[in-house]
Amino acid sequence: MDGERIAQKVFLLAAVLSASVTVLLLVFMVILGLPLFQGGLFLRILTHPWLPGRQLFGVWPMIVGTLAIASLAMAVAFPLSLGVSSLIAVVAPGRIAHLVKSAVAFMTGIPTVVYGFVGVFLLVPLVRETFARGSGLCVLTAGLVLGILVAPTMILFFSDALARVPGSHRVAAEALGATPAQVLVYVLIPGAWRGIVTGLVLSTGRAVGDTLIALMLAGNAAQVPGGLLDSARALTAHIALVIASDFDSLEFKTIFACGILLYAFTAAATIAVRRLGRKGEPVR
């Protein structure tokens, strides 16, 4: 019987160790960025512009940059994903749906850096020539590619949610003479809204957390972008760009502010989604 007890302890230990990584991640960032939390400095860093010449090291432009790129990506990915998951659910079920779903699943496995690389050499020149302004490295380019990048994950979430609406609801609507589109709009989408919101929130987390696309395609100028064709720097890209600078400088410490901000955002998104999921359970 002793082996049983030891095994149980080992499994528990593994689970606790893994969970502690989640906490350690935050603790390490807070400790190394410690001077940031004295005398309201953290707040100043979040709200000031980035002007190293005047000793101002604020990440406000990066917050705006991240929001701009991620919102554009979501504006591209959401309608696209809703369309594709509708195709899978009602418009062309069967063989075509299966094929499309396999292709979408494969897309989730395409390396981010590959999207970025193709973006640099295909989309950037296209944007530069089409709008005849700037270098082509801008919010628009990064947002479009990021939208294509997060769409497959979103589609898998959406079609999962649509497929989980009880078949009896669907059959009842069909028996009343509803067309496939009416079933989708009046039965499936309202019935799956929790799953759709979950997919939306988690994909937003992915868009905000992505590094390579913004780093390679958005131009990385540390300024608040004034339009879609302006260059912008995301929080994630800021971490990658500043990591090589002097370790004790305030400039360097700002990457921990970015890290903490990204951590807080994605953790909040995860907690919100779990709340939503738990509330949804008793209904069924």
């Binding site: 593994a14 991640l25 390490f28 696209l80 418009v91 496995g109 690389f117 994630t236």
Partner: protein, 294 residues
Amino acid sequence: MRQPPLDRFVRLVSWGSTLLLLASVATVIGFLLIKGYSSLSLKLVFGDTPPMEALLLRRPVFGGLFPAMVGTFSLVVLAITLAVPLGLAAGIYMAEYGRGRIQRALGLFFDILAGVPSIVVGLFGFSVAVFLHRHFGGRIYPCLLISALSLAFLVLPYLIRTTQNALEALPEAVRLTAPALGATRLQNICFVLLPRALPGILSGVILAIGRCAEDTAVIMLTGVVATAGLPRSLFSSYEALPFYIYYISSQYRDPEELATGYAAALILLAICAMLFAAAALIQQRLGARLHQRL
């Protein structure tokens, strides 16, 4: 037959978005194939060194992708070796032992970890390296081991969840047979449940391998460099395929070097596609087997 306007609209939107999405992916892959295919060759991988000599590590490779491929390979092997035992054990706990509030709390931590951006995990790895550097004699710098450890943390929540789900998906009849015959809980897990859940776990591991191979954000903070040759030890810097692609996209000096970037992107894409196909195949087999039994 004439359709109502709503139906026409839905058909139009769904077909339109599907074709648009498939076309963009086809463009990405097609573009790489057209630009990269012609420069795929043994010389691209091994430079001017004879392939056999390079593979046996007798002679170094200059100007080829070989060091980056070896770097990525060692990184993946190390990260998976670190992550799989821990992830498997934690997943077994979650599925077979954990109950109530403790299990829910642990689940919350794993979900948060799964959502943390990879650059933040990389920043954590970097911080750990700084910490070790300060407290252990200054010999530790960002290196292969630190990168592998960070990547292990990145895929850990994923491995835990696939293990947990694979175990929880087993039918109740399978779960109860061995205990009814007098098997202990641990015997049931080791000899009945784990073997039955293995295909599910394995496809999760393969997808985790893909994530380790493609991730760039983590390694660029934890020790990857553009030119290092083959990794000499766990504590040395190293080259990696995804970082090479990123580096070339901004730092290429001539069209020839750019061509190697295209080819490297094509190779990485092919590696990830093969891993994906392997995972899908295992899952399909699993599905077929389950249907047979029902």
